[in-house]
């Protein structure tokens, strides 16, 4: 097991190098760069050149890349060109904000999806199943930011119940205030996450119903309730566990649009700001972080699967 994890991690490193390399050079190919966004047309060419060299942007691209990579390996993500802040410090400040929003929303969506998916499967083809299916179909087709606008209008403007911007009221750092700010974006994310998960649970549960053990249990006179509680739900949870691993990157980039609509000070708004300004250290840092999480998440999914399902063993071929 440990050998397997180590080998998989060893594969992650070159892939990350390729990801960063590709993005780094893609950023160099842009017809304009960060300097264009802070200089004005009435500056002299020399002035612009001085600005460019001060940021190290007149060095050859490969040198800039190596310099960046060398610092990243030491855990230094560099400095934002626009704000001069340390990116690692900025991320350390913003990452918890995103996690506090995404994690509860994802867990709620997951629990909701397991419940709805199992109920739908148990009532397969009947009105309740169709209802859940239709809700899911609408949810999948709905742009999350549109749902956010509806909620902002309804709860923010019309009813005046919840704040619609930011994370805290100025001067109020209390938990109740945070929860009030959290509510609307949280709701948007739950609605954005649960339809796909519900379908996944439902179709896994339905496919379980064709298994021999279900026939056997039925033959012994098990009721549907017993069958679902004791057998089907346990088997459905196996693939669901792997979904948790695959969801890991969402902790960073799962809420870019939702954060933007609600001006939530998380990684999503930070990334979007950086991307707009072509602030390449920021773009690279967020890409590196999220690509790492995708790969670690995939690994985690595989490992979790082995942990929960003793039938699966990682052989030498399982790479």
């Amino acid at each position: 097991m440990l050998v397997y994890v180590a080998r998989r991690l060893a594969q992650v490193v070159p892939l990350l190098a390729v990801v960063t390399l590709a993005v780094f050079f893609a950023l160099r190919l842009a017809p304009y760069d960060f300097v264009d966004s802070i200089t004005t047309p009435n500056m002299t060419a020399e002035h612009v050149a001085i600005v460019r060299s001060r940021y190290g942007l007149d060095d050859p691209a490969w040198l800039q890349y190596l310099r960046w990579l060398g610092r990243v390996v030491q855990g230094d993500l560099g400095y934002s060109l626009a704000s001069q802040h340390s990116i690692a410090a900025d991320l350390a400040q913003r990452l918890p904000n995103t996690i506090v929003l995404v994690l509860p929303a994802y867990l709620t969506a997951l629990i909701l999806a397991i419940a709805l998916g199992l109920v739908a499967a148990a009532r397969h083809g009947r009105p309740l199943d169709r209802l859940i299916d239709t809700i899911g179909a609408v949810g999948i087709a709905m742009p999350p930011f549109w749902f956010a606008l509806l909620l902002i209008y309804l709860f923010g403007y019309f009813l005046g119940l919840f704040p619609i911007i930011g994370m805290h009221t100025v001067g109020d750092r209390g938990l109740p205030d945070l929860l009030r700010h959290l509510f609307l974006p949280y709701l948007v994310l739950v609605v954005a996450f649960f339809p796909d998960l519900t379908r996944y649970v439902r179709s896994s549960a339905i496919s379980q119903l064709d298994e021999d053990y279900v026939t056997v249990q039925r033959a012994f006179g098990a009721s549907d309730a017993q069958l679902f509680r004791r057998h089907v739900s346990r088997n459905v949870l196996l693939p669901v566990v792997t979904q948790i691993g695959l969801a890991l990157p969402m902790l960073v980039t799962g809420a870019v649009i939702t954060e933007t609509v609600f001006s939530w000070p998380g990684v999503g708004t930070y990334f979007l700001q950086g991307a707009r300004a072509l602030d390449y250290p920021v773009i690279l840092a967020v890409l590196l972080l999220s690509a790492t999480l995708v790969m670690v998440g995939n690994l985690l999914a595989d490992v979790l699967y082995v942990v929960v399902d003793p039938r699966v063993r990682l052989g030498k071929t399982a790479t």
Binding site: M142, P143, I152, I257
Partner: protein, 268 residues
């Protein structure tokens, strides 16, 4: 979505209606561009069914013309992604092992960056016009198609009739045209409907973030971005384009499910 024939009929009805309105828009008495400051921000009424926006432009016309762009982007991005995905899938499925390996690593690589992040970076870099948006969305949406086409080919290759065809010495082009291509058509069609949906939602997101369709051109996502500013006074400006997106995407998905049901005899 439970795939029943009347569902598919409803979905096709919605899509045909939208396509007809979009194609016929220049013939209809609709004017999305004339600014009339005496009719700013009017509520829906007989003269302006969907009201007017803050520059006094007829909102029904804006929605119809926005839909033209949204649907066009969705359709063209789908064509781009499906073409690339099918070709890569064919190459990977039929090519030598090293080609297959290389292409699948490329798919893994592109899939290892969260998709929205990838698309945002690309659109910031390429300051998009309409063609660029299509290229970005289409160029990053082909991975699923490629994977599925490849998987389908690998399974077709195992079937006895393909084995016989190889055995009697059928040349490769004929083999591909007669046996491989027909086998992958259902997968390609089904994935294509999902790709249209995904492309339209992506265009809406990008335009909403201000990175997609730019004024004076408009799309449903761009209308939503504008509507955000007057949400408190005119919530219906946000409501309408959103409903249009949902109706279109739901119809595409229902059509895809119906195709899956028909071709693959898969239980709903």
């Amino acid at each position: 979505m439970t795939a029943r024939p009347n569902h598919a009929r409803g979905a096709i009805g919605v899509l045909v209606f939208l396509a007809l309105v979009s194609l016929a828009a220049p013939l209809l008495p609709l004017d999305p561009t004339t600014i009339d400051l005496t009719r700013r921000s009017q509520a829906p009424g007989p003269a302006h069914w969907f009201g007017t926006d803050d520059l006094g432009r007829d909102y029904l016309a804006r929605v119809v013309y926005g839909g033209r762009v949204s649907l066009l982007v969705g359709a063209l991005a789908m064509v781009t992604a499906t073409t690339i995905g099918t070709l890569i899938g064919l190459l990977a499925g039929l090519g030598r092992p090293w080609v297959d390996n290389l292409l699948m690593r490329l798919v893994d690589f592109l899939s290892s960056i969260p998709w929205l992040v990838l698309v945002i970076v690309a659109s910031v870099l390429l300051r998009p016009g309409l063609i660029m948006i299509v290229a970005i969305i289409g160029g990053f949406s082909w991975m699923t198609t490629a994977r599925l086409v490849r998987a389908e080919i690998l399974s077709v290759k195992q079937r006895a009739y393909v084995g016989y065809a190889v055995h009697i010495g059928q040349p490769l082009p004929i083999l591909v045209a007669r046996h491989i291509v027909p086998a992958i058509v259902p997968v390609v069609l089904i994935t294509a409907t999902a790709t249209v949906s995904a492309a339209m939602l992506t265009e809406a997101s990008l335009s909403f973030l201000g990175l997609g369709v730019q004024a004076p051109q408009t799309s449903w996502g761009q209308l939503l971005q504008t509507a955000q500013g007057s949400l408190q006074r005119q919530p219906y400006l946000a409501l309408i384009p959103g409903l249009a997106i949902i109706a279109t995407v739901m119809s595409c998905n229902a059509l895809g499910n119906s195709l899956r049901h028909t071709f693959l005899r898969e239980a709903p």
